[in-house]
Symmetry: C2
Subunit: 215 residues, 2 copies
């Protein structure tokens, strides 16, 4: 299990450290679901989890640290399909994302992370790294489709997977309406057609669109 | 000019009220560009604009009010093209959005609004209304394309225009990398192909996807 704020060796599955972590992250998740990010404090997390406030502060430092760790935990739960066809993979992944973001507290977690990133450069960096890693993993389904001859050889996996995810974040953060299965199926149909139309082809002579540094 | 926090009659073009408004919104925009949302305060806005702090508070109440009004002002500047073809319209609109979000202070404004919406229900409501209105206006290009026979008759304008915008917000808020013209052209190519593939068709027996209430 990847964690952002302590060395891997500190976590022993089933040990006291792991139990503390689980109790605290569960409390953050529940507080987000009930009261949103606006009212979230270290004190509420400590009280709800039954873990000493000093312990929570020592290990996570601030609410932003907790939010980042919860994102890594929750986001990593989305399974990456390998169904044998591109359309099967796209639809399965989009539906898994929709199922995750159908939960109010996960929507609020995304809002919280994006909101914290606007104020805190360290959160912004964690957010970017997390999504870069997820995109790289999900991009394997694009590469498999290229290998099977289902997509143009110069299709950029990161561009295509970014395009699959984009409608969900638009729905949550901008349109501010529920994520549903219709959105998932629309997103899957859309990126497949767009990829065939050459919308995500790699540019010559430079890094692929969406992976250039800066900000 | 649409404003969120006072009656239209209060603004006389060229009058003292209009000058105050312009000075304050310009100060907010400049502060966002230089210091981001994290350090933005009513005091800094008053100091930078040369407008009395009491006046700023009386008229806008809080930073969130200022941010909402600036969004309405800046967002309304994007021209809505009518080039005679769907692909011409999509490309022109996408490039206008890219030009706007190519500016660091506009990216920071979007971050600020989304961030404020996560903490404040009134901001969330202003944000949603603003984008609903913009989508309805932009959707006219979809209807014109349907009328010209360029798109299936049951294409949903709101779904399609949401899909055109989504990659920009993903790039700004999630990928946290610069918006450029390549992204605009990719988005325009993608939604056109996706629309032809039926990704944005209206569902029977209910409101179109993306316009259902709730959230």
């Amino acid at each position: 299990m990847t964690t952002a704020h302590h060395a891997p060796g500190e976590t022993r599955p089933g040990g006291r450290t792991a139990r503390t972590r689980k109790a605290v992250l569960t409390a953050v998740f529940e507080e987000l679901g009930e009261n949103g990010f606006g009212g979230l404090t270290m004190e509420k997390v400590a009280s709800r989890s039954g873990i000493h406030l000093a312990t929570v502060y020592r290990r996570w430092r601030c609410i932003e640290g907790l939010i980042c760790e919860l994102l890594t935990e929750v986001g990593s739960e989305v399974p990456l399909p390998d169904s044998g066809t591109l359309s099967g993979d796209l639809r399965a992944l989009a539906r898994s994302i929709a199922a995750l973001y159908g939960e109010g507290r996960v929507r609020r977690l995304i809002e919280a992370v994006v909101s914290a990133a606007a104020r805190d450069g360290q959160v912004a960096s964690v957010l970017r790294t997390f999504f870069d890693e997820r995109l790289a993993l999900a991009g394997r389904m694009v590469q498999r489709a290229v290998d099977r001859g289902e997509l143009p050889a110069n299709t950029d996996p990161v561009q295509m997977m970014s395009a699959l995810g984009a409608p969900f974040y638009y729905r949550i953060l901008i349109a501010r309406r529920p994520v549903d299965r219709d959105l998932a199926d629309s997103a899957a149909t859309a990126v497949r057609a767009a990829a065939h139309a050459g919308a995500y082809t790699k540019k010559d002579g430079g890094p692929a669109n969406g992976t250039s540094p800066g900000g």
